[in-house]
Symmetry: C2
Subunit: 468 residues, 2 copies
């Protein structure tokens, strides 16, 4: 596995090439068998879709095929001469369903066969959905390498018969554009690399206390909280990112983290702060606070079409609520203490999100504090340690595992071995409860990284988790 | 300047955007005047060549124009509506010479005007050569920024009248693919960034004692000295890199560093080593050594068309020559000491390079040891300190300045201020002698960097030197 990881890193970050005599696939498919014959990839290898129900009107497969071909050349000039035999001329892709709207739980299974006989000789991919076919193309690409003798792309150890399906429907990576702004191009690069590792959810932690980089048309002064005039995303940028991700089989999960982690909101609308001198959490006493949340989620719902939205809810320090007179008064009038207010804030925000069609994900503090009050469909996002997931699923909630000691990428001392060995189902023995663990997520918090080193910090450890 | 550098860094590495109300050009053109009017760049801005002698058959200008347009959007979606006035619809480029073979000393001067009146309103570039026009397009791009209100590319402070020409004909950056292999894609990325800063020579230190990554058809076992099977460049890769660079106005200077820094050569041909146990410098006593040098330079001459080749000559530890019996005997028979042998090796290599049509560049130790014997056309490449350049030009040789204390990028403690303040003409007062300083070069030696951090280590300090 060390070798596989090293090679994967080479692919992702350094762009080097798989050595000719190794067989390395990552993540390892569910079932792999192979032979011993070398094949040559025809220089102008083509893609066909004979037998498909799917029409590829959006050019999802066609573009993915071209990206795969570009990737396996690794910028080398392929100027060898096609030999007369053992030449793979085509990849035929059979997709059984016409739909290509990416959604949670989409069937990503595939079969990939690379035979050694046939005239013409072609590889065959079979998948229920176009998103399974995308995964198959990633696997096919990993079989190929540029050979410095033939000056051709070659493929060793054919015939191959590979059957694959993901273990979990949610395989996430968090990026954080609030602590450091990440240009659109960098985010797209992260999405490219996620696709190589078959990760399928980009958790976009868009805003936080430090900055509010995204445009919210309903409340246009919110992005006054951006770091600078230019460190911003327009709604069109967000749509562009979502479309880019979807074409690669990657869902985008948007997060607004309330009521804590939201100080930047008040730069544009200072009444969201408890006071000028005490600026977070968001003012629980004002309807305006929830109107703004409603505006954000309304705008989000037009562009972030993933089933889930993430509402945060972690690390809420409520001291400003008790030291600000008008909030203190409001708490008294409503016979609430700050714990009640925190709970009500989260639940009220959940209702708003549900009204916009979302299922909710919340960080685990919400479950730890008032799990029995959460909307039953809430997905609890673990991060503090590995003990909570069994409790979450025992309570009937779904869970995403991101225990920080193993899967926080900003923990530079978290080893790739630790990333690999982390088991999302640890301590969960009941099969039905196991199914409530929808997957895991590695988290690249942005305090210590920026555009210049985000990829180098994410990989290869994120890939180790992807192999879990 | 700090601001200019910060913005340049943003452009190069982070890809952020120039703030709307600043005027920042880098390197600063020779002459700049401007007004106060804002213009909008038409969304489908076009390029024309009315009045040009140049035909752009190789699509040098057309591709550069498209790259410039892509760059100024910084991946934002430009979805604003073109206003009815103050819209720049076209950049007209007048190139006065039909030739587009890049060569040393090519005229890179240009005039760029951006008027505020005219129907249609268009910017005008005028240049002697296509390479001057490329520089003008870089400057034009730096005037433009994405505006988050109009959702258009805008250009402030028009009208602009800019006249520019480089101070030096040689503005170099060294990369080193022997200490760490750099994938072709990474090298192309470095070339892209050089073009943004108007650097025009990529000094490719291809091989060294650690590895020999490039294919030499005349002696095909030389690349047995590569780090691995895949960490290699084919001749086609090298041609691809040279063409890529030339299309961006960047020359590629190839180096083989002899007789020291060549231990890797012997992996494929061990008789190039003095002995199995004493492996460098190259064996001065064998004709085969010079046959291999001839083979390499013969192959180089087919692909590296720059006027110069770099023959190294630095840091030669000759102890293996005196401790290896057959070389010791050869020295005696030829009545030479090791200093004589070092001199003869360098001069014999120079003659071979000249026979293949090259002018030679050598590191300064050759000048320091036997400057009066060097071919008169030798360009002496300074690196040890700032004192040698005056001596070199006083002796009538040309010089490139790279004093390591200021312009070695692997010196992480060398500040950008130091890069900026370094003066290639320091201590040279005679005008004719000043003209012998053909320029400067910043050096990104590869021991401590690889593909993952080369760009981050080169910039922004290299840009500071480019502003010199």
């Amino acid at each position: 596995m060390a070798l596989a990881l090293r090679l994967l890193l080479a692919f992702l970050v350094i762009g080097s090439c798989i050595a000719a005599d190794n067989i390395d696939l990552w993540p390892m498919p569910q079932s792999v068998s192979h032979g011993t014959q070398k094949l040559y990839i025809k220089k102008d290898i083509t893609m066909s879709m004979v037998g498909s129900t799917y029409s590829d009107e959006k050019s999802i497969l066609k573009d993915a095929f071209q990206r795969m071909v570009d990737l396996i050349t690794l910028n080398h000039v392929v100027d060898g001469i096609n030999p007369s035999s053992s030449v793979l001329t085509c990849v035929n892709i059979v997709v059984h369903t016409p739909e290509d709207e990416l959604s949670f739980g989409a069937d990503e299974s595939y079969n990939l066969t690379v035979p050694t006989t046939g005239d013409p000789l072609y590889a065959q991919i079979e998948a229920q959905t176009v998103f399974g076919a995308l995964q198959a193309l990633q696997t096919f690409g990993q079989l190929c390498y540029f050979d410095f003798t033939s000056r051709l792309i070659e493929l060793n150890s054919a015939p191959w018969i590979i059957t694959d399906r993901p273990r979990f429907p949610y395989r996430g990576l968090l990026i954080d554009t609030a602590r450091h702004y990440l240009p659109v191009k960098i985010i797209k690069g992260v999405i490219d690399a996620m696709a190589y590792s078959k990760l399928n959810v980009l958790h976009w932690h868009i805003v936080d206390e430090q900055s509010f980089p995204i445009e919210i048309p309903s409340y246009p002064k919110l992005w006054n909280g951006s770091y600078s005039y230019s460190e911003r995303y327009t709604m069109s940028d967000a749509i562009d990112i979502v479309r880019y991700a979807e074409k690669r089989g990657v869902n985008v999960l948007a997060e607004i983290d309330v009521p804590g982690h939201a100080r930047s909101w008040g730069v544009g609308y200072s009444s969201l702060w408890p006071s000028e001198s005490c600026r977070e959490p968001l003012d629980v006493s004002k309807n305006f606070t929830f109107e703004v949340i409603d505006g954000i989620l309304s705008d989000f719902s037009k562009i972030f079409k993933f089933k889930f939205v993430h509402l945060g809810g972690d690390e809420v320090n409520t001291s400003c609520w008790t030291t600000t007179p008008h909030i203190e008064g409001w708490l008294k009038n409503n016979h609430m203490n700050v714990s009640d207010a925190y709970r009500d804030f989260v639940l009220r925000s959940q209702k708003i999100a549900i009204s916009h069609g979302y299922d909710i994900i919340n960080w685990e503090e919400t479950f730890n504090s008032f799990g029995d009050k959460l909307d039953p469909k809430t997905v609890v996002h673990n991060w503090l340690g590995e003990d909570v997931a069994p409790k979450v699923v025992a309570a009937g909630h779904r869970c995403i595992v991101s225990n920080q000691d193993k899967w926080y990428l900003d923990h530079l001392d978290a080893s790739w071995e630790g990333f690999y060995m982390n088991e999302p189902l640890k301590g969960i023995n009941d099969t039905k409860q196991q199914q409530l663990v929808i997957g895991g997520e590695v988290c690249m918090w942005g305090e210590e990284i920026d555009a210049s080193d985000i990829q180098q910090t994410i990989w290869p450890r994120a890939a180790a988790a992807a192999g879990n």
